[in-house]
């Protein structure tokens, strides 16, 4: 098997260190959230397996289009994604053990469920941390890889927006607050929330001039700008609804409640799909 990169053990160890730091940084709120622990034993194991499969696809997309070595072969990207999942599971297991959420007396299926549910979000954090927390001269491709221009295309950007949206939405989707807000808000307020989310996406992508916006946000015409904002919000809604489904928030709910919850989670998700998407691609100056 041929590999596109060669690194010393020390450099690899540093990369894993960055991944662990990123994993903890991006997922600590989830590791300390009761509803996520509960999801580990309430959800059907098949749904947790589906969650793992979707996370693998997300990691694959992120590593391919925005990760550290975007010029790698698909097999290398898959290997990186499996490594990130493994590190995510290890970190989740360690934190759950330190916080006495798993251990002697807890059933194996409950333990596996908790570690799997927590570990997948940690894995996304590991991936982002590995790519974004690097030193200025780490010798890897970053954004200046051979496929730099291709990564700014519509579909790659949509894929990275999905990663950003999931990273933000997954932190709130398991909480009861989303249901409470959706349940107690009048329909007109939900509509205003949806319009505000769209405006927020437009503000971040086309007005606030975030770093990287000039590279990754097409804004040649009104049509392209509008398409970008609408796509970003659509991706945010899909990511938010997916997270709500995986954490069981749609179970037994009428469709109106599902819709309202999706709009409510759409606020953090659209931030992830717009600002988060740009931040996920920003490399330190000099690279």
């Amino acid at each position: 098997m041929k590999f596109s990169h060669e690194r010393s053990v020390l450099r690899s160890a540093r990369e894993y260190g960055r991944g662990i730091a990123g994993g903890l940084m991006f997922s600590l709120p989830l590791l300390y959230t009761m509803e996520v622990w509960w999801a580990g034993f309430i959800l059907h194991p098949g749904r947790i397996l589906l969650y793992m499969a979707c996370t693998f696809v997300l990691l694959f997309l992120y590593n391919r289009f925005a990760g550290l070595r975007r010029d790698s072969s698909l097999i290398e990207v898959a290997i990186d994604s499996v490594e990130e999942m493994g590190i995510g599971l290890l970190i989740a297991a360690a934190v759950l053990w330190f916080t006495a959420r798993i251990g002697p007396g807890i059933q194996l299926s409950e333990t596996a469920g908790k570690i799997a549910v927590e570990g997948m979000t940690v894995a996304i954090g590991v991936s982002v941390g590995t790519a974004q927390l690097g030193a200025e001269d780490d010798g890897d491709e970053g954004l200046v890889g051979d496929d730099g221009p291709a990564a700014s295309g519509y579909l790659p950007q949509a894929a990275i927006a999905l990663c950003g949206a999931v990273l933000f939405a997954a932190n709130m989707a398991p909480t009861e607050e989303i249901q409470v807000i959706a349940m107690e808000s009048r329909p007109v307020m939900i509509l205003i929330l949806a319009l505000c989310s769209l405006a927020l996406g437009g503000l971040v992508l086309h007005f606030a001039e975030l770093r990287g916006a000039n590279l990754y946000v097409p804004r040649d015409t009104w049509l392209l700008s509008t398409r970008g904002v609408v796509t970003t919000y659509a991706i945010a809604l899909v990511a938010g609804a997916g997270c709500l489904f995986f954490f069981g928030q749609f179970d037994g709910q009428p469709w109106r409640m599902m819709l309202a919850q999706t709009v409510v989670i759409g606020v953090p998700a659209v931030l992830g799909a717009s600002a988060g998407r740009l931040l996920l691609q920003v490399r330190p100056p000099g690279n």
Binding site: G46, I106, A112
Partner: protein, 134 residues
């Protein structure tokens, strides 16, 4: 860092990277197998709760009675209320304990407290209600 770049680096992945990949693969595979087996065993039936009363002890001038609830069913039981009653006609005494969750196959332990004069052999425990997870 520049010194590091001049080092002779082996081609392809190094030993550390292969080790991390091997351990990660085992972990991911292990979790998939565990969850897969669990999914196949999932019956979809209701929770089935069994109570066991332990040996009562005097603690701090009160009679403490430990109890264990095991869920032998297929779904999680939520907010499980357990009442332990000491029958005595009009003077029946009841102590209660609530468990947030009892997952499938799991056992949770608690304690109920009675006045010191209570005869521990005459206690009766029952589940007075619980929610089912959606």
């Amino acid at each position: 860092m520049s010194r590091e770049k001049e080092e002779k680096i082996p081609a392809g992945k190094n030993a550390l990277e292969w080790s991390v990949f091997a351990v990660s693969s085992l972990l991911v595979l292990g979790i998939i197998i565990l969850l897969g087996v669990d999914a196949l065993r999932w019956g979809g039936g209701p929770a089935r709760l069994e109570i066991g009363l332990g040996e009562a002890k005097m603690e701090g001038g009160q009679l403490c009675v430990p109890l264990r609830v095991t869920n032998q069913g297929d779904t999680v039981a939520v907010n499980v209320n357990v009442d332990v009653t000491a029958p005595g006609g009009n003077g029946a005494k009841t102590a209660s304990v609530t468990f947030d969750f009892i997952p499938r196959g799991a056992t949770r332990e608690g304690r109920v407290i009675f006045p010191p004069e209570q005869d521990p052999t005459k206690l009766e425990a029952r589940i007075s209600g619980y929610e089912t997870a959606p």
